[in-house]
């Protein structure tokens, strides 16, 4: 089976029902996508499939064949951080960082899919991504700042 990830084609020996998260992490070595709950609840494993945020821990690989998968490793453009990544650095959001690939992928998808998204909708859209270090105050600041950057077309 072939998977298109971050613009590259990967050949995988995975079975159709194998879950995308473990194929990414264990087989392909893309460990930036994290495991948190295994039931699609906490959001740590969020990736983009054709631009939409999806929970890789409950997504069988056969469902994403011939689609464009993007992971945290593919979020920056060349050496330039995505506006969401840059905002997360500028606001020093990350503590342990484990949930953060998912947080940033969720925010990036919301901003890219819905250019006119309101601040309220954006925060609502972030509410299914859990953080145990308790960095919510900064996640709020950073995603609202990232939204501004995207609207103004800067990084």
């Amino acid at each position: 089976m072939k998977l298109n990830i971050n613009g590259n084609t990967y050949q995988t020996g995975a079975e159709p029902n194998d879950l995308l998260l473990w194929v990414l992490r264990d087989e392909l070595g893309l460990t930036g996508t994290k495991f948190g709950c295994g039931i699609g609840y906490c959001g740590s494993c969020t990736v983009h499939v054709d631009g939409k945020p999806m929970r890789a821990c409950v997504t069988p690989v056969q469902a994403v064949q011939n689609k464009n998968i993007r992971t945290i490793e593919g979020l920056k453009k060349g050496e330039t951080l995505h506006p969401v990544q840059q905002a997360f650095v500028d606001h020093q959001v990350l503590q342990c960082g484990w949930c953060m690939s998912g947080q940033m992928m969720q925010a990036a998808a919301l901003l890219e899919q819905q250019p006119g998204i309101s601040d309220e909708e954006l925060l609502q859209g972030m509410s299914g991504n859990f953080c145990r270090c308790g960095s919510y105050v900064r996640i709020r600041e950073a995603v609202l700042d990232a939204a501004k950057r995207v609207r103004e077309g800067r990084s």
Binding site: T31, K34, Q85, Q95, V137
Partner: protein, 731 residues
């Protein structure tokens, strides 16, 4: 590292001269953490023998072949920003920037046995002076070596990221060149002069976290991410009940399952593990184990709560002032009982480790707060000399006490040996919730006598499962009597003539242990809610009532400041918007003082307490990194809110009820309050730990706000819909 020869040239310092690359290194020892001192107090002579200097240092600077400086530390980076803060201490005295230092965590083969690990908010406390002394000494040595090579007096020289430079010029002697001059490396005879607090240029600034660039791009490696060529995956059979004992295991069907390489059974240890090509195959194969269990006693919640009732002869007094409890015989006794449930740490990264067991040595990459706990467990279990086991700590996806345990490291080693290949064991969420140790449930009974509007006598009886005793040797348990983890935050520090604290610490059938702040959250919830009750009883404003009971000591003066700060900032005593009210509480831990005000309302539709905002003032003595300290406050307060409103684990039919986040919900972004932080410094120039203390007042601040709003007193966390309903708060 193994080629390095250390020699002691002065009491606290070691110079190491490496054979490779002509590297020179200066090592030093950390101070004793507060908790270790406490242990030593409790055990008197038994620990004194450990006071001898180890042959290798706790932390050290090293000149690399590319002329950069590396700083080796023993403390784990689990999100608290410790690698950055330690680099700030060093950079300050070296006269460098934080980013000029490459901070690396040493492995268990690269230093002495750090018998403390990372926790108890102790890393800065123990490093503050030794790290600066070592950096200042190293700076002098580098300048002296540079002076020789550049033929200039040391006063005209300065350090850069890669060498010693003549000030105002480009003329520089590279560190790597200096390092090859073996004869020159002697520690100066006189101790270095440290910078004065008011001269600090790096300490006290918000240096950016050095681990963020790798974390933000997904490149940072955690224990769950560790990989080796040819690695396999392990899964371990878990007992079905708390007291289950494995009688027999028929594994004849297991090895036939797809991808299975090895099945390992150790009946005596109750261990059945499978190693397979993929994680999924390993877990699937486990389902084919035909295990017979003796399920043991099927415990129920109520039976466990009976065990922690703080009454009877087992209590140990941990505090007594004046007449103690005897003061309760004079006057009307006001009494209240407070409770908190089992809880889990719920680090977002479950326990994980990769082990490679070979005849010539063992390597284990692990998310761990306590690498030596893994090497010692593996040594005992596999009969391998501990000196040949190297545990390499990775970044941790949260710890909060759970990764003091690090059982996954031992499991990976057992299975790697059985399979003859590197094996990774990563726990799933259910294992993380049920197989580690839980925060113990608590039951506090508070009794007081008031006289003329002031408290004359206050007694605090605490019933709780063990915390520190979960991992300490049992001889210490006997020596210390009360578990300092269980009664953390339980001492009454107000100026009250008669005070007594009594602790009951049974070992429960559920394994209990370390959790962020230990007993701080539960004990401060009990004490500070009760203070609020006594204020109401005496008809005094809660702020005024607390101020009235502060001692005249330095602690009292500092506490007055943090209390007045949050009162002023939250506009305490002024009218609030309709349907909202404020609650106040304070607490202290590790000499760090905290006061908080919470603003709440009741959301009848969503059947919940809404915490709108928390004002938090903290005086940790000296702040190393203001932004880092604020992040720690925000995190600890969020923990407190989550625990106060939601978190609860029950025991039913011999099992733990929480299996995943669906039945152990965490606070979400939508429920998270705004947090206003205020950092005060007492002018002592001495920093205290900040990672845990801010959790102390949260439960009481919220509970007191609910009381102010509704007149109803909630004495058990979490304040969930069921408890709000039975208190008549939900209508």
């Amino acid at each position: 590292m193994s080629s390095r020869k250390w020699r002691i040239t002065r009491r606290q310092f070691l110079i190491g001269l490496g054979t490779a690359g002509g590297a020179v290194a200066l090592g030093f020892y950390l101070g004793k953490p507060a908790m270790q001192l406490k242990l030593a107090e409790g055990s008197e002579d038994s620990l004194k023998s450990q006071a001898k200097l180890p042959k290798t240092p706790d932390a050290w600077f090293e000149i690399r072949e590319d002329s950069t400086l590396r700083l080796y530390v023993t403390k784990s980076e689990m999100g608290q920003g410790i690698h950055t803060a330690l680099a700030q201490l060093a950079a300050e005295e070296l006269g460098l920037k934080v980013t000029d230092l490459d901070v690396v965590q040493s492995t268990t083969r690269q230093g002495p046995k750090d018998s403390f690990g990372t926790g108890a908010s102790a890393s800065i406390l123990t490093s503050f002076r030794p790290m600066r002394e070592a950096a200042a000494t190293f700076r002098e040595m580098l300048l002296k070596a540079g002076s020789g090579q550049l033929q200039k007096p040391a006063e005209q020289l300065e350090l850069t990221a890669t060498g010693v430079r003549v000030k105002g010029t480009e003329q520089q002697a590279l560190y790597a060149d200096l390092a090859r001059q073996e004869g020159m490396w002697e520690v100066p005879k006189t101790p270095p002069v440290l910078k004065k607090v008011r001269g600090f240029q790096v300490i006290g600034t918000s240096a950016q976290r050095i681990d963020l660039p790798a974390k933000v791009t997904g490149e940072a490696i955690y224990g769950y991410d560790a990989r080796l060529p040819g690695m396999l995956y392990g899964a371990v059979l878990r007992p079905p009940t708390l007291e289950a004992n494995l009688k027999s295991a028929d594994v004849s069907q297991v090895s036939r399952q797809p991808g299975v390489k090895t099945v390992h059974v150790d009946l005596e240890a109750g261990f059945v593990g499978v190693v397979a090509q993929t994680r999924n195959q390993a877990r699937n194969a486990l389902r084919h184990v035909k295990a017979v269990w003796d399920q043991g006693k099927l415990w129920q919640q109520k039976e466990i709560l009976d065990l922690i009732r703080p009454e009877g002869k087992a209590g140990v007094t941990f505090q007594r002032e004046g007449k103690g409890s005897a003061g309760l015989k004079q006057g009307n006794v006001i009494r209240a009982e407070y409770r908190s449930p089992f809880a889990v740490q719920a680090a977002m990264e479950p326990q994980a480790a990769l082990a490679d067991v070979k005849p010539e040595g063992v390597k284990i990459w692990a998310s761990t707060q306590y690498p030596f706990r893994i090497s010692s467990a593996v040594s005992k279990k596999l009969g391998i000399k501990e000196e040949t086991i190297e545990v390499i700590p990775t970044y941790l996806g949260g710890g909060f006490g759970s990764k003091i345990n690090s059982q996954a490291g031992l499991e990976a080693a057992i299975l790697s040996k059985a399979a003859g290949a590197p094996v990774h064991v990563g726990w799933d969420r259910t294992e993380e919730m049920t197989q580690g140790f839980l925060r113990p449930p608590t039951h506090s009974v508070l009794s007081a006598v008031l006289k003329d509007g002031k408290i004359e006598t206050l007694e605090h009886r605490i019933g709780s499962g063990v915390v520190a005793f979960s991992t300490l040797p049992s001889f210490l348990e006997t020596l210390m009597g009360a578990d300092f983890g269980s009664y953390a935050g339980g001492k009454v520090l107000y100026d009250i003539p008669n005070r007594q604290g009594i602790s009951y610490n049974p070992h429960l059938p559920v394994r209990t242990g370390w959790w962020r702040g230990l007993g701080l959250f539960a004990n401060t919830f009990a004490l500070e809610s009760f203070m609020d009750e006594l204020a109401a009883e005496s008809g005094t404003d809660p702020l005024e009532f607390r101020l009235k009971h502060l001692p005249a000591s330095a602690w009292g003066v500092r506490m007055r400041k943090v209390l007045q700060t949050v009162a002023r900032e939250s506009r305490w005593g002024k009218p609030r918007p309709s349907g909202r009210a404020l609650g106040l509480a304070c607490g202290s831990s590790f000499e760090n003082l905290i006061a908080q005000v919470a603003e709440v309302s009741i959301d009848q539709e969503k059947e919940r307490v809404k915490v709108h905002r928390i004002w938090c003032a903290m005086d940790p003595g000296l702040v190393i990194n203001p932004d880092g300290a604020k992040a720690q406050i925000q995190g600890a307060v969020m923990w407190g809110v989550s625990s106060a409103l939601k978190e609860e684990v029950l025991v039913k039919d011999g099992k733990i009820t929480a299996q995943n986040f669906t039945d152990y919900p965490l606070l979400s972004l939508e429920e998270a309050p705004d947090i206003q932080t205020f950092l005060l410094e007492d002018g002592s120039g001495e920093p205290r730990g900040v990672g845990e203390p801010p959790i102390a007042p949260v439960g009481a601040a919220i509970g007191n706000a609910i009381f102010a709003l509704t007149g109803k007193r909630l004495r058990e966390v979490p304040f969930n819909a069921e408890r709000l309903r039975s208190a008549g708060i939900l209508v």
